[in-house]
Amino acid sequence: MVRHAKITDAQIKERLARTFRATRAHRRRVDRAVVYVLSCCALLVIFALFNILAHLLTQGFSSVNLEFLTHLPKPVGEAGGGMANAIMGTLTLLGIAVLVGVPIGLGAAIYLSEYAHKRFAYVVRFTTDVMNGIPSIVYGIFAYTMLVVPMKSFSALSGGIALGVMMIPMVARTSEEFIRLVPVSMREAGLALGVPKWKVIVDIILPISIGGIMTGIMSSLARVAGETAPLLFTAFGNHFWNASLMQPIAALPLQVFAYAISPFDDWHRQAWAGALVLITLVFIINLFASYFVARQSRIFAGKAA
């Protein structure tokens, strides 16, 4: 019995060692295979991005020129023409959007971080999260029923307000986050000197966190700059210069959409050019956002030391 056990013991040991080596090799192989699979996933995503950018650059560059940036669209069949009115239109719409979105978003952010009761703050924060998830076309319907129907006309104003409302939750959340990061000691320093709380906010807290606030404004602006759906039945689009904010106005995304689904080759080229201009605009605004966030984190790092 004992002798018998001794033999099997050795055998078992050997067999175990063999299986262990085998499983270890197998486990290592699996581990390495997983790395390949996962990095392929990442490569696929990068490939999609580069494919889109490459097409934008190659297709867009041939049609972007001075005329494209400074002229009105030409009728079908006539070569040339540009999207000057759409570029101006987008800038106008963004201007209105800032006037609507920034005061409300920033005001709410200050209130939430400095004054609000916990439960109220929670409700408002939750609501801004919900707002962030509402499909953009629903904002379009909202602006249509609230503004276009009573004013009896598609207008630049309604489009700008639709974009502005979309900006509110993004501005509010980002600004609040950065305002909260201002060290308590700085608030207390002001209050201890007998400065009223509102002056502490205006003169100390806001100037310190301004970089963060600008980041929120810029990144929300970049997002709404490319929005098309909320403009379809508010700003509506226009082939000419916009004369008044109560009139329909052209916008780059609308123009790109209209030209892309048209059956004309000339217009397709214009659509690519418009898309290139649009994405350049979006990326530039995003660059500002990252500039401000870098600046802000330097400030916080400096103050904390």
Partner: protein, 302 residues
């Protein structure tokens, strides 16, 4: 506490207006949607959601084809985007060297910043031709025995729209999942390594099981975006009111029918029916977002 002076009281009162305005706007959106779609709600009742007729001429409206289109495109998009998105997130959070991680994360943020109309443009002129001449014939040849891959191949249609949606939601899945995976406490990972686990084993047994609810949250958040996405889908789904098992066939989604028909809705009831579709989108997106926020919150706040 500082003593309250007059300026303080005025300042605080003024600021109170803004958060209230936010609550008011969301309530206002709900109210206007219900108000403007009331004619359709009264006329068609709950049957609106399960009727598949959409006939502007005889004013008979049902949203089923659009609900179907939205569900199918979102589902297929998730099917494509989940493995790629979660895989990339794991790679970035656990495997990639710091510099590569930063660079790729930046590129993915760029991908998220591309406006949807540009995805649509790319879809029309780059993706659809590829789908028509390569992908769909291939699927038809080898998987054609399945009802999903039968029928005429136009290029535009549900499958192309799903692919575009997948590309659009992948950045969200990646950035949220990556955050959640990075939030797994270091000590858990080290425990797994100390037990002799390989990286993959540690990942599978410890990290992913910890991060699972958060990744689910990321996926549901992405689902919310897919459901509400309008322009890119409108540009390549083919816009056809039809319920078909084939992914090759043109379809329609909730958002794209609004985008396409809103400006030309001539009668009150037609417009009202379109706004009711908007109401459905609104309610679904709120529900989806609430679930997602809760799941993400349950991981990052632990």
């Amino acid at each position: 506490m500082a003593r309250k002076d007059g300026g303080d009281i005025i300042f605080e009162r003024t600021l109170t207006v803004f958060p209230c305005l936010i609550l008011l706007i969301v309530a206002g959106i709900l109210f206007t949607l219900v108000h403007a779609s009331w004619a359709s709600i009264v006329r068609f009742g709950p049957g609106f959601l399960v009727t598949s007729t959409w006939d502007p001429v005889f004013e008979h409206f049902g949203a089923l084809p659009f609900i179907f289109g939205t569900l199918v495109t979102s589902f297929v998009a998730l099917l494509l985007a989940i493995p790629i998105g979660v895989g990339t997130a794991i790679y970035l959070a656990e495997y990639a060297p710091f510099k590569i991680q930063k660079t790729i994360a930046m590129l993915i943020d760029l991908l998220a910043a591309v406006p949807s109309v540009i995805y649509g443009l790319w879809g029309i002129f780059v993706l659809v031709p590829v789908m028509r001449s390569h992908v769909q014939p291939f699927l038809g040849k080898y998987l054609g025995f399945l009802p999903f891959f039968q029928g005429p191949n136009y290029g535009v249609g549900i499958l192309s729209a799903s692919v575009i949606l997948a590309i659009m939601i992948v950045p969200f899945i990646i950035s949220v999942s990556r955050e959640v995976i990075l939030a797994v406490p270091q000590v858990y990972k080290e425990t797994a390594y100390a037990m002799g686990a390989t990286r993959w084993e540690a990942l599978r047994t410890v990290i992913l099981s910890y991060a699972k609810p958060g990744i689910m949250g990321a996926i549901i958040l992405a689902l919310g975006r897919a459901i509400g996405e309008t322009m890119a889908v409108t540009m390549i789904i083919g816009n056809n009111v039809k319920i078909s098992a084939s992914l090759f066939s043109p379809g329609y989604t909730l958002a794209s029918v609004i985008a396409n028909e809103f400006a030309e809705a001539a009668t009150k009831l037609y417009l009202s029916a379109l706004i009711e579709i908007g109401l459905v989108l609104f309610l679904v997106s709120i529900l989806v977002n609430m679930i997602a926020r809760f799941l993400i919150w349950s991981v990052t706040q632990r």
